[in-house]
C-alpha cells in the first residue's frame, strides 16, 4: 500500500522521459521485422513475374509472333532450319495437359483408396505402414523417378505396346507415382479431421461401413480431395526432369500414347542451353515459361475456389 503511495503508477508514467517505452519499442521492432520480410518476399515474387513477363512478351512485341500463331500453331522450328522460323507451341501445351491429366486420373483413385485405408479401414497398422512409405515417395528426387521410369517403365511399355515405349503414357505413369503423396496426404488430412460424430451417426442409423464411406464420408471430403488432385496436377504440370527423361521430346502432337512427345517444361530444360539470350528462340522459351506461370496461377485459383466451397 505504502509503495503505491510513494510512487503512483499511471498509464502515462514513463521511467525514461522523452523516449518510447520499452515494450512499445519491442512491439515496433517485431512489427518492422516481419513487415520487411513480407515486403521482401513480395518484391522477389513480383520481380520474377516481371522478368519472365518482359522476356516472354518480347516474342510477341519484338519478334512479331502473333498470339494465335504461338498458342495454336503446331509447328515448332524456332531456328528456321526448314525455312521460316515457326513458333507453334500447341504440341507442348497438349503434352503438358495430357500427361498431367492422365497422371491425375491414374493417381487419384489410388491415393483416395490409400487415404481411406489409412483412416477408415485399418487406422492402426495401415497408417503406421503406409504413412512412412508415402512420405518416402514424396522425398525421392525427380531425377531418380525419371531414371527408374527410363529403365523400367519405358522398356515394359515397349514390349507391351507398339512403339518405342517413350511418350505420354510413360510420362504419365512416372508423374502419377510422383503426385501420389500429394493427393494421399491431403486426402488423409481431410479424412482424419472429419468430426467423429458424422461417421457414428451414419453407423447408428444402421449403415454399413462401405455405405458410410460412400454416402457420408466421401461426399463430405470431396472438395478437399479435389484440392489435392488439383495440387497434384499442378505439380505434374510443372515437373520437368523426370518427364523429359521418358517422354521422347519430339516436337509434335503424338498420334498415340506411346509415341514420342514433349511438354512445355521438357522443351524449356532441353533447349535453354542451346539458345542465345535475346534471340527469338530464347524469347519463345520465356513465353512458354510465362504460359506455365499463368497455368500455375489458374491452378491456385481453382484450389481457392474449392476451399471456399469446402467451408460451406
Amino acid at each position: 500500500m505504502k509503495a503505491i503511495d510513494e510512487r503512483p503508477v499511471g498509464i502515462a508514467d514513463n521511467p525514461r522521459p522523452g523516449r518510447f517505452k520499452k515494450h512499445h519499442m519491442e512491439d515496433f521492432a517485431g512489427r518492422s521485422y516481419t513487415t520487411i520480410c513480407a515486403i521482401l518476399l513480395i518484391v522477389i515474387i513480383l520481380s520474377i513475374v516481371y522478368f519472365v513477363a518482359s522476356k516472354g512478351l518480347a516474342t510477341f512485341f519484338r519478334d512479331g509472333v502473333s498470339f494465335s500463331e504461338f498458342l495454336f500453331g503446331s509447328k515448332w522450328d524456332p531456328d528456321g532450319n526448314h525455312g521460316e522460323p515457326q513458333f507453334g507451341v500447341m504440341p507442348f501445351i497438349f503434352g503438358s495437359f495430357a500427361t498431367s491429366i492422365l497422371a491425375a486420373v491414374i493417381a487419384s483413385p489410388l491415393s483416395i483408396c490409400a487415404s481411406l485405408f489409412m483412416t477408415e479401414i485399418v487406422p492402426g497398422w495401415g497408417k503406421k505402414l503406409l504413412q512412412p512409405v508415402i512420405e518416402l515417395l514424396a522425398g525421392i528426387p525427380s531425377v531418380v523417378y525419371g531414371f527408374v521410369g527410363l529403365t523400367v517403365i519405358v522398356p515394359a511399355l515397349r514390349d507391351m505396346f507398339p512403339g518405342q515405349g517413350i511418350g505420354i503414357a510413360a510420362g504419365s505413369i512416372v508423374l502419377s507415382v510422383m503426385i501420389l503423396p500429394t493427393i494421399t496426404s491431403i486426402g488423409t488430412d481431410a479424412l482424419s479431421s472429419l468430426p467423429r460424430g458424422l461417421k457414428e451417426s451414419s453407423y447408428a442409423l444402421g449403415a454399413t461401413r462401405w455405405q458410410t464411406i460412400y454416402r457420408v464420408i466421401l461426399p463430405t471430403v470431396l472438395p478437399s480431395i479435389l484440392t489435392g488432385v488439383v495440387l497434384g496436377m499442378a505439380r505434374a504440370f510443372g515437373e520437368a526432369l523426370a518427364v523429359q527423361m521418358v517422354i521422347g521430346n519430339a516436337p509434335h502432337i503424338p498420334r498415340s500414347l506411346f509415341e514420342s512427345a514433349s511438354t512445355l517444361t521438357s522443351v524449356i530444360t532441353l533447349d535453354m542451353g542451346n539458345t542465345v539470350m535475346g534471340t527469338p528462340h530464347s524469347n519463345a522459351l520465356w513465353s512458354m515459361a510465362l504460359a506455365l506461370m499463368f497455368m500455375t496461377f489458374i491452378f491456385v485459383v481453382i484450389v481457392r475456389l474449392l476451399e471456399r466451397r469446402n467451408r460451406i
Binding site: G124, P195, G197, L198, K199, E200, S201, S202, Y203, A204, L205, G206, A207, T208, Q211, R215, V216, P219, T220, I312
Partner: protein, 254 residues
C-alpha cells in the same frame, strides 16, 4: 417396476479398454415407454455404457465387452446378431449436433434409403413425420432443400433427433443431447424427450441434475464405472439411499 422392464436390460455388463475396466458389472433395466437418466461425474463410464447399448464400441478396436445386453429376449452381443439391423432399432444422438453435409431432406431420408425405401412419396412422408415428431417441421418445411448446416445449433440437434427417428427405432440413446445448446433450445429438446417417451424408451446421459429430475422416470448414478444407485427419479432426488448420490446431486461432490 412394470412387467415390460425385462425387454431391454443389461446383465453384468462390463466394458474394458485394453486392461482398463471402464464399466464394471452393471445390471440395469430400461422399462418401456420411459426415460432413464444416467448421471455421474465425468469419466464415470456412463457414456461408454451408453455406447455399448447399440454396439457403437465395435468401432473402438481395444474395447472388449463382457456380460449381456438383452433386447426382447435377444443378446445383442451374440455373434448371430446383425449389428446393422440392431442399430436400426436403436437410435442415437450425440452431444454435438452432427448433421450430414447434405440438405435437411437428405439428412432425414438418408437412413430410410439405406433400408430400402425408394418410393419418393413414402420418403416424403417419413421426412415429414420424423420432422414433426422432432417438432422441427414448422420451422423447416419451406426450406427442406437447404443445407442442414444453415440451421441453428438447437435446430441441428432436433434434426439429428429426427434423423434418428427416421428409421423407427424402439429405443433412443441420448448422450448429453442438450449440453451444447442454449436454454431455449434445451427446453425444446426436453419437451421433445417427454413427448417421445410415449412411443419409445429413452436412455439419456446428462450432467444437468435439473434436467435429469425434470424429464426422467428413473435415474442411475454411476461412479468410477460402478452403478452406485438406481431407482425412481423422485426417490433418487428426494431420498437417495447412498450418501454419495446425495452429495453428487446436491452439487457437493463431483
Amino acid at each position: 417396476m412394470q412387467q415390460t422392464s425385462t425387454t431391454f436390460r443389461t446383465e453384468n455388463l462390463s466394458v474394458f479398454y485394453g486392461t482398463y475396466e471402464a464399466v464394471k458389472n452393471i445390471s440395469l433395466n430400461f422399462p418401456d415407454k420411459s426415460v432413464t437418466a444416467l448421471i455421474g461425474p465425468s469419466g464415470c463410464g456412463k457414456s461408454t455404457f451408453l455406447r455399448s447399448l447399440n454396439r457403437m464400441n465395435d468401432e473402438i478396436s481395444q474395447a472388449v465387452i463382457k456380460g449381456k445386453i438383452w433386447i426382447g429376449g435377444e443378446d445383442i452381443n451374440d455373434p448371430s446378431t446383425d449389428v446393422i439391423q440392431l442399430r436400426q432399432k436403436i437410435g442415437m444422438v450425440w452431444q454435438k449436433p452432427n448433421p450430414f453435409y447434405k440438405s435437411i431432406y437428405e439428412n432425414i431420408a438418408f437412413g430410410p434409403k439405406y433400408h430400402g425405401v425408394k418410393n419418393k412419396k413414402e420418403l416424403d412422408q417419413i421426412v415429414e413425420s420424423s420432422l414433426r415428431k422432432a417438432a422441427l417441421w414448422d420451422e423447416v418445411k419451406d426450406r427442406l432443400k437447404q443445407s442442414a448446416l444453415s440451421l441453428s445449433g438447437g435446430q441441428q440437434q432436433r434434426l439429428c433427433i429426427a434423423r434418428a427417428l427416421s428409421v423407427n427405432p424402439g429405443i433412443l440413446l441420448l448422450d448429453e443431447p442438450a449440453s451444447a445448446l442454449d436454454p431455449v433450445s434445451t427446453s425444446k429438446v426436453e419437451e421433445l424427450i417427454v413427448e417421445l417417451k410415449k412411443e419409445l424408451s429413452i436412455v439419456i446421459v446428462t450432467h444437468n441434475m435439473q434436467q435429469a429430475a425434470r424429464i426422467s422416470d428413473y435415474t442411475a448414478y454411476f461412479y468410477l464405472g460402478t452403478l452406485m444407485e438406481h431407482n425412481d427419479t423422485e426417490i433418487i432426488f428426494t431420498n437417495p439411499a447412498n450418501a454419495m448420490t446425495q452429495e453428487y446431486i446436491s452439487g457437493r461432490f463431483g
